[in-house]
């Protein structure tokens, strides 16, 4: 033990001086390589996961909220909606709760100019009746209007269309998926809900990366209920936005504790997230882990080469140290300390870059993928685990070449003989 402590002390003594007095350029270059390696480890997988996290965030922000209350599986609507809504709105953890009425709808455009033998220009969507005040707090959909404007109180027979219903935003030629042509704000279209047909005016077009929104036809809730044949006590869903720091699970449990589970399903965002999204997140996490592993291998090879070249060029001095009686372990430890130094400094610079620059940058300017606003996902615990992995890998990669050089014949090392 005493010998090991002595070796560590001498190893530290040598390592500190080797790092401090080596060429600044060389040290900077090695640290730069380590920073790139760290970024490769964290950012590549972080963007992959962030791509799907972007989808998930958008679904939470623009549709589900933190907690979603939906009808029981055998029901078409939430029973006793008024009671449910009144209760959740009274909960201290809930910032806002927005009820929606949903009903399948077929839209038809250009019916006034269509020739008798011409195929009708139709598209299928979901009529969504929204409460403007609470919807603004929960999803703030009005910020996503790309043409015209969003609904306002008193907008009679006016709708806002999701952009997937318009052909210029989704140029797909598929018999199974039709879109409306030549529809702009101000255009009149027909809406068919069951046997009811209503002519409405398009007030605006809304664009998000959430399919549930992009395929919706938004209308004031009172009119939507009338068209769908519903009243205030049987809405289709209620989305809840919680105050900062509140837990969705606790809110869900409290709602269920008050017996509302008899009338509705209460799910947290994670529970309500569609399975395919969860599967995609898991898949991309796996891909990210794969890329990280490759990054780790690259990191270990990089540090191995760096330390190997360093040890090889200093082979003579290693021989001298051994020659004058320094324990080989102390020399190996010196190189291990150097490796840890490079990994630690590289990781520290990388951490600052990730959390002070890249994460805020990607949040402010997400990558505009067709189906997602990609962000950089770098949970601190996972990142720190990767730092630990990097340091341990580097430690091993630094030790091996030092060990290889140290075990060579002392005199051969001193004289530079092979």
């Amino acid at each position: 033990m005493n010998g090991l402590l002595k070796d560590i002390r001498i190893g530290w003594f040598l390592a500190i001086r080797q790092v401090r007095r080596s060429s600044k350029w060389t040290t900077s270059l090695i640290v730069f390589v380590m920073v790139l390696t760290f970024l490769n480890l964290v950012v590549v997988s972080g963007i992959l996961v962030g791509l799907i996290q972007g989808v998930s965030n958008a679904v939470r922000d623009k549709y589900i909220g933190d907690v979603m209350i939906s009808p029981l599986l055998e029901k078409d609507y939430i029973e006793h909606s008024v009671d449910v809504l009144s209760f959740v709105r009274s909960m201290p953890a809930v910032e806002a709760a927005t009820p929606r009425v949903r009903k399948g709808v077929v839209l038809e455009a250009n019916y006034q100019t269509r020739a008798f033998d011409e195929k009708p220009n139709t598209a299928a969507g979901q009529l969504v009746g929204v409460d403007l005040d609470s919807e603004r707090v929960v999803t703030n959909l009005s910020e996503n209007v790309i043409e015209g404007s969003f609904l306002e109180p008193g907008d009679y027979d006016q709708v806002v269309l999701g952009h997937y219903l318009i052909d210029r935003y989704l140029p797909i030629e598929s018999p199974a998926f039709t879109t409306l042509k030549s529809v702009y704000p101000g255009t009149k279209i027909r809406m068919r809900i069951g046997d009811t047909v209503r002519e409405v005016t398009v007030k605006g077009i809304i664009k998000t990366k959430v399919d549930e929104v992009s395929l919706s036809v938004f209308m004031l809730d009172s009119q939507a209920r009338a068209l769908a044949g519903r009243d205030v006590d049987n809405v289709s869903e209620i989305s809840l936005k919680l105050k900062d720091g509140e837990y969705a699970e606790a809110v869900r449990d409290e709602i269920l504790l008050h017996g509302f589970g008899e009338y509705a399903r209460v799910q947290t965002f994670d529970e309500a997230t569609p399975k395919f999204v969860k599967d995609m997140i898991a898949t991309f996490n796996l891909l990210g882990a794969g890329f990280s592993s490759i990054g780790l291998v690259v990191a270990s090879i990089t540090i191995f080469i760096v330390i190997f070249i360093n040890a090889l060029t200093r082979r003579k001095f290693i021989g001298i140290l051994k020659g004058i009686g320094i324990d080989g372990h102390a020399i190996e430890i010196a190189y291990v300390f150097q490796s840890i130094f490079y990994a630690a400094v590289g990781s520290a610079v990388g951490l600052v870059l990730v959390y002070a620059v890249l994460v805020p940058l990607f949040l402010a300017h997400p990558i505009d993928f067709p189906f997602s606003d990609g962000i950089l996902v770098a949970p601190l615990d996972e990142t720190l685990f990767r730092v630990l992995l990097l340091v341990v890998t580097t430690l091993i990669a630094g030790f091996i070449p030092a060990w290889m050089i140290v075990r060579k014949n002392t005199l051969d090392s001193i004289l530079g003989r092979n």
Partner: protein, 241 residues
């Protein structure tokens, strides 16, 4: 104190077998200053490396203070080199990123002394070689002669039983070489055993004994009169004035 019996060293490189030492019998007593001479390739440096346990002989025995040394484990040899031997190499062999003081300090750190004691010992050793004012200088800031004196300070700091020197003046100018040899003489006068390989006849004459190698064997071993020791310093003194 140190003895070799029928020491043989043969280098094998593929099919090429090169015998360098061909059965060397040698003995040095404590306090002796021995110069080993010979033409290049005669085997003098190889002999020094075997004796100083930096290399392993092919055959024969090395006995140091009555102990068979060549069969020791690598760790025992390292310990022996640390405690019993001091080395002065032709090219100084200093660690470039360590200051003069740190270079002397490193082997002392392997001992079980306190750090403060080690620092003091290193400082005294450097002062003894007249480098007390350059403790914090890196080797790159020192002249060749100064670097060699740091190397000597490192070798003698812990008072080794034997000081091995492999052509210590080969890379130095005349003045620096003289300073190094003066140091060796001082050390020897203080009782230090020194075994030095050299090409310089003049410096070899300062030793108690000159052992001449040729073709892997000792051909002559001349004892010299002690009166010769003062010659070098006298000449240096005369040159200075």
């Amino acid at each position: 104190m140190i003895e070799t019996r029928n020491l043989v060293k043969t280098f094998v490189n593929g099919d090429i077998i090169t015998p360098v030492l061909k059965g060397v019998d040698f003995k040095a007593e404590a306090g002796e200053f021995i110069a080993i001479m010979g033409r290049s390739g005669a085997g003098k440096s190889t002999f020094l490396y075997q004796m100083s346990l930096l290399d392993e002989p092919t055959e024969g025995e090395i006995i140091i203070d009555g102990r068979v040394a060549h069969t020791m484990t690598e760790a025992e040899k390292a310990d022996f080199r640390l405690v019993k031997f001091g080395y002065v190499f032709q090219d100084y062999a200093l660690l470039p990123e360590l200051t003069a003081l740190e270079n002397v300090l490193v082997p002392l750190m392997m001992m079980d002394y306190e750090h403060g004691h080690n620092l003091e010992v290193a400082r005294i050793a450097l002062e003894r070689v007249n480098l007390g004012g350059k403790l914090d200088s890196l080797p790159s800031r020192l002249s060749g002669g100064e670097q060699q004196r740091v190397s000597i300070a490192r070798a003698i700091a812990d008072k080794p039983a034997i000081l091995f020197a492999d052509e210590p003046t080969a890379n130095l100018d005349r003045e620096s070489s003289d300073q190094v040899m003066d140091l060796f003489l001082e050390l020897h006068e203080a009782g230090q055993t020194i075994i030095m390989v050299t090409h310089e006849e003049e410096y070899a004459r300062l030793a108690d004994r000159v052992v001449r190698f040729d073709d892997g064997k000792i051909v002559t071993a001349e004892h010299q009169g002690h009166e010769k020791k003062g010659t070098h310093r006298r000449r240096q003194h005369e040159n200075t004035h």
